[in-house]
Symmetry: C2
Subunit: 405 residues, 2 copies
């Protein structure tokens, strides 16, 4: 757990605009009534860039287009994001539209086309409204924006999600900022949701890609809201080098510091998404220790946090530990049931395969909190993992029984 060892300074109200040389903003282009529906990030200097993408077999058009941008020079200078239309399952027209918006954005900002990334979120099967997109892009200013970037990318989210941290690399202070959106169709698989990370650190692009993949696997890929992996998920990171640190690679002595900073930002953003899951009232954190190995711990933690019965029990503040044990049991992972211990917070409910008498009132009180920690220890080895999710509530059903209408 590298993040424990290294000092990181959190920036109050920080986000993708916090690192040096990054400008971000949002505006309404008429796809929604009032809420902003187009956002952008711009870096004064071309930035080393890396991306991870959904594993869904249907990949939305913007993912292919952004991937092709990155393939050319591992560099981005701007990212354009729209809501309402996910531009997914939209065929050749959708792909061409994504290319055209990239071109318009590049021309508007005076940067090469392949320095622009595009991302979309919203309803699957809707084409982009190209007239609105064209006008919207022409209207982008790199000064004061109509709305913050973080607000312009939301769909069913109830909160904007952003943070930034600082750390010291070879004597230079570097800043890492991030923003993300995601509330439904959230299930860990490669990259879930839209996430954007900016940093003024100077980082070798290949190593940046390695770092993003590694960190994503233990942050964004550890959250679930509903078990549904979207077609549009993508996390992009841009590193513009304006902190003037020595070039970072995996061999640099301060590489772990950078990893810790990136991890802190991605973990924070991931937890924001889990806590703001559609209809959620509580963040659930599942800590698994003593598993055969980390992979096994990860599978178990994700199974528990994804169980509808565990999620509804947490919503109802019902200490129905049998459901947690049940989920553990169907995770498909090997362990000896007689060695398993399980607790809600510090209240042990199951010890080495047997139920423990506990104070129901105390348990209910614990479950009434905004944030609930489920702990399972398997007694098999040193594997450990943490996963995050949320409770399953009436509002989840309400939101999703009428999403399009």
């Amino acid at each position: 757990m590298i993040e424990k060892k290294i000092q990181l300074k959190k920036i109050k109200n920080g986000g993708v605009g916090s690192p040096k040389g990054f400008i971000s903003g949002g505006q309404n282009i008429g796809m929604r009534k009032k809420k902003p529906d187009m956002g952008w990030i711009y870096s004064e200097k071309p930035a080393a860039a890396a991306g991870v993408y959904t594993t869904n077999r249907f990949q939305a058009a913007p993912l292919g287009v952004t991937r092709s941008s990155l393939a050319k020079a591992q560099t981005l200078q701007a990212i354009l994001v729209n809501t309402v239309s996910a531009n997914s399952c939209t065929g050749k027209e959708g792909y061409d539209n994504a290319c055209t918006t990239r071109k318009w954005m590049a021309e508007h900002l005076g940067v090469p086309e392949h320095y622009v990334g595009v991302a979309s979120t919203g309803v699957i099967g809707l084409q982009l409204p190209m007239d609105k997109m064209k006008k919207g892009i022409a209207h982008i200013t790199l000064g004061e924006a109509e709305a913050p970037f973080e607000e312009a990318i939301l769909t069913t989210d109830t909160k904007a999600k952003h943070l930034a941290v600082q750390c010291v690399i070879g004597g230079k202070t570097i800043t890492i900022g991030g923003a993300c959106k995601g509330s439904g169709m959230i299930h860990p698989n490669m990259a879930t949701m839209l996430g954007f990370v900016t940093t003024d650190a100077y980082v070798a692009p290949d190593d940046l890609q390695l770092a993003l993949k590694k960190i994503t696997d233990r942050t964004f890929n550890r959250i679930t809201v509903d078990g549904d992996t979207s077609t549009n998920d993508m996390v992009l990171v841009m590193a513009n080098g304006m902190a003037e640190n020595e070039k970072l690679t995996v061999h640099h002595p301060d590489w772990p510091v950078f990893l810790a900073g990136l991890n802190e930002v991605c973990r924070g953003l991931a937890k924001f998404i889990a806590a703001d899951g559609e209809g959620a009232t509580k963040l659930i954190e599942v800590q698994v220790t003593g598993a055969k190995n980390d992979q096994s711990a990860e599978a178990i933690s994700k199974t528990i946090v994804g169980s509808s019965l565990v999620k509804t029990a947490v919503f109802g503040s019902d200490a129905n530990w049998g459901r947690i044990i049940c989920a553990l049991g169907y995770s498909g992972e090997p362990f000896n049931p007689d060695k398993v211990t399980m607790a809600l917070g510090d209240i042990v409910m199951f010890d080495k395969g047997m139920p423990v008498v506990f104070d129901e009132e105390k348990a209910k009180h614990y479950l009434d909190q905004d944030s609930v920690v489920i702990k399972a220890h398997l007694g098999e080895g040193n594997g450990e993992a943490v996963a995050w999710g949320c409770d399953l509530t009436y509002d989840y059903v309400k939101i999703n029984a009428s999403y399009r209408s």
Copy 2:
């Protein structure tokens, strides 16, 4: 699809008591206020028996005990079922209790102990109330019972679930009856829920086991309510031979007829469970064709029917086909997105990778029905499968936010 070719006669209001020589019943032993909470099945003659059990690593005590009964002579003459306590995660005491109830039942009926199977359903972690169990067993009569077996085994189920069919084997009419319970913690994996099948057919025990496994995989293992695989799932079949047919084995010319009958009963019971899923208002059937192979079709059908977003869309009668396509995409199965076609009933919404303009009103009307069929054709091969589930509603959350209280 063997069931299409063979004529089966359905018995009106049939159940586990329909085949010759089977008696079943239920009664209240005081674990619940009024509802019956103990049920039994008895066969006049010892019956060849087979069972399939949950794959959950935590297996409830009665499963081990029943398994040991079957291991001895592949024969059962009686089955005892209780609700309220699942006798799961109850350690050695729970196992000993299950053995003791088996012993009491055997003594009461005058049959060998290993001719008795036991099953429990209810809350995990509760020990059996042995005083009540003892009195209850002593009170069992093989004549008129206080309540039907089918009602005595229910928990959150809203309906008793039973059916029976007849077919002709070597000139003799044989009857196959079944009953089951299950509403929550339902997810296909080996055997999900409690299911009991009786038949007066004469069947070789090894072949009966083969048949049960095969049929379970395409019936009970094809349903999901919430993705949670219980610790207590078990399906038992008893064949007492009182129809006096020639002994059935896999080599008998009428073996396919028996399989078709068994399939019809298990499929019917499985669909009852899906339709009566906790809080459900609609049965969802997913038909996948044109997959690479049957296994792939099965994985895809189960992924779609298990998607929370598909389930809530069906609840809200929202023809949000993007969610179905999205679930297809994250099933993990290989296919070419550009060959995929998808329909709700007969309303095609996605054709060879592209959205189709359809009549929204007609689609809403279709989704307003009690039973909804989702069809996906992949254009990859001849693999096909059907899976069943239900919509996700406010009542699912309501029921499960306060199950224990």
